[in-house]
């Protein structure tokens, strides 16, 4: 009913002088007969920078005509800390904790991408066991990040119950992280040449027990959120994007794969032990908000598959390459390492001039690239849906602004 009223309002042309009359009519009859001489005015509405649905400090100006958004002017930079400049004044190892503070919902993959870039720059081989542990914690991180996505996507559409369930599950992952590295949010666990320490005794069994339980529960959760009638009504067919548009706007990660483009760094530029693991790159084809939401739920199931195999295959051995000093000097050169983070293609481009500090660190944050498409994606949709579209792009502003 609410939706029908909105579309009526949009069709009608509203102006200030007869708004009260219009409201009276709407209240009495549910519609207005004569809309001939009504003029529409465009309004500019500020969204954020402090807004509960803004996923962080995001400021945008929405130009609206009735309920329909005609133009969006994003304004970012409220969380800009210029990590790239800080990196030039820290040693290679010292910069790892800073990467935790970029995509703070998925710190582990940030550590991983940065360390991988430095390893490529310096030509460091990572031991097998460390690679397996990296895959396990990396995929756990993907699950945690996608759980946060599903809970916030639900709550933005008015469903507050899933929030509790998903955060409870995420708590399980944070507890596992706490056991392996002592931290719950900013891990600083993946180090250049390996990981900080081996998994404690029993940790792999705990992880396996956790994913086994989650695997069973995911089907209930799918029905709770993605199968919900209201959720479907709000998400299906809203803000669709074609593959051409998605590529043109530089989307990566789940938003790109929801349009039918199978770009997943784990497959297209394989790293670590992913070539040896069986999993599917989840691809959807409609590219609307619902596909962007479903794809994350399916990726959680694939991540569970990966974790199960990695735990099965993990060999004994060292977890850190030998001979890497805390302060080390890679030869002058360049290194580019990227991983498939929960948000998309996360890359670090590190340039060395042969000293103990990087000459340049460029951070390619997928949230930045994805957020750029928001205006193209949601112009022409209802203002109430823009927040959902923003949610399905899943930007984290620590990474957008860096």
């Amino acid at each position: 009913m609410g939706l029908i009223k909105m579309s009526k309002l949009e069709e009608m042309k509203i102006s200030n002088h007869n708004l009260s009359e219009l409201e009276k009519d709407l209240a009495l009859n549910g519609e207005v007969e004569s809309t001939e001489d009504i003029v529409t005015e465009e309004l500019a509405i500020h969204f954020g920078p402090q807004h509960p649905s803004a996923h962080g400090v995001f400021h945008a100006i929405f130009h609206v005509k009735g309920e329909v958004v005609t133009k969006i002017e994003p304004d970012i930079g409220y969380l800009h800390r210029c990590f790239e400049k800080i990196a030039e004044n820290r040693t290679y190892t010292q910069f790892i904790p800073y990467t935790d503070r970029m995509d703070y919902v998925a710190s582990m993959t940030n550590n991983w991408a940065y360390c991988m870039a430095v390893e490529k720059l310096a030509g460091i081989e990572v031991p097998e066991r460390a690679e397996h542990i990296r895959v396990i914690v990396g995929e756990l991180q993907r699950i945690a990040s996608h759980l946060v996505f599903l809970s916030t996507a639900g709550s933005e559409a008015g469903a507050l119950t899933p929030f509790v369930y998903f955060f409870d599950e995420r708590e399980g992952i944070l507890t596992l992280y706490e056991k392996i590295c002592g931290a719950r949010l900013t891990y600083n666990y993946i180090r250049i040449g390996g990981v900080r320490a081996d998994a404690p005794e029993g940790w792999l069994d705990d992880t396996l027990a956790f994913v086994t339980r989650l695997k069973k529960r995911m089907y209930d959760y799918d029905r709770l959120v993605l199968g919900n009638y209201i959720f479907k009504k709000r998400f299906i067919g809203v803000a669709p994007f074609s593959a051409e548009q998605a590529l043109d706007w530089g989307l990566t990660g789940p938003p790109l794969r929801s349009t039918g483009v199978s770009y997943d760094v784990r497959r297209s530029d394989p790293y670590s032990v992913y070539p040896r693991l069986e999993f599917d790159v989840v691809v959807k084809y409609k590219g609307d908000n619902y596909d962007r939401a479903c794809i994350r739920s399916d990726e959680i199931k694939q991540s569970i598959r990966i974790i199960e195999q990695a735990i099965e295959q993990i060999p004994e051995g060292p977890v850190k390459a030998d001979g890497i000093a805390k302060v080390f000097k890679p030869a002058a050169g360049e290194g580019y390492g990227h991983v498939e983070s929960p948000k998309g293609d996360l890359g670090f481009y590190v340039v060395s001039d042969g000293t103990t500090k990087p000459y340049r660190v460029k951070i390619q944050g997928p949230s930045f690239g994805n957020l750029q498409a928001l205006p193209a994606m949601s112009e022409g949709t209802y203002i109430g849906d823009v927040v959902l579209t923003l949610g399905t792009l899943d930007p984290v502003f620590g990474e957008v602004d860096r």
Partner: protein, 204 residues
């Protein structure tokens, strides 16, 4: 699948006439061009199937700023990503914008303009993206200094190394002496000085 292909195909390929990508240690396939040829080379890459623009990065050198673009192809079977490199002199840091080819270049070029001061010709909306529009200087250049921002502290905050290096001898001792023989100074200001001194020590 694709990684095996890459191995089998050798380490260079001619994309079109005169445009040859070469494998480089650490970063994969690379194409280096003069800045006048950038748009032409980028167009050739786009035509060859590189349809996803990932980033542009500046690197500051004393005489020039090097630019590195990364593009990815969703269509090709091997050599899926290319680093496109060019260089602009600092005296005239202009280069063609790639927004006509990839809309995604828009924000990335604005970022490089914001932090490096590279001017992208033909960009539809070249404004600063992270920093306020009235910001002075380009922070990621090596010679960037934010001294102008500390004017409100009467220079007292500048007792750190950088300031001492800029104004040798005279300035630093004079300031510390001033601080010592000023007991009538309100205690909160003295505290503020204390804190900032500690902070800069920690950073060193």
């Amino acid at each position: 699948m694709s990684d095996e292909n890459i191995m089998n195909q050798g380490n260079s390929e001619e994309i079109s006439a005169g445009i040859k990508i070469v494998e480089e240690k650490g970063i994969g396939y690379t194409l280096t061009v003069e800045r006048e040829d950038l748009f032409k080379a980028a167009s050739a890459l786009k035509e060859a199937g590189f349809d996803l623009f990932l980033f542009v990065s500046g690197i500051d050198y004393p005489e020039s700023i090097k630019l590195t673009y990364r593009v990815y192809s969703s269509k090709r079977q091997n050599k899926l990503a290319v680093m496109l490199k060019t260089e602009v002199p600092k005296s005239d840091p202009t280069v063609d914008s790639l927004v006509p080819l990839w809309s995604a270049a828009n924000w990335h070029e604005r970022e490089t303009y914001d932090l490096y001061g590279v001017i992208f010709k033909g960009h539809p909306d070249l404004r600063r993206i992270f920093l306020p529009q009235d910001w002075v200087g380009y922070p990621l250049r090596k010679d960037y200094s934010d001294d102008h921002m500390t004017v409100m502290d009467d220079g007292k905050k500048d007792k750190d190394k950088a300031a001492a290096k800029d104004k040798p001898a005279a300035a630093a001792p004079k300031e510390s002496a001033e601080k010592q023989d000023a007991p009538e100074q309100p205690s909160d200001i003295a505290d503020a000085n204390e804190v900032s001194t500690n902070g800069s020590d920690k950073n060193e």
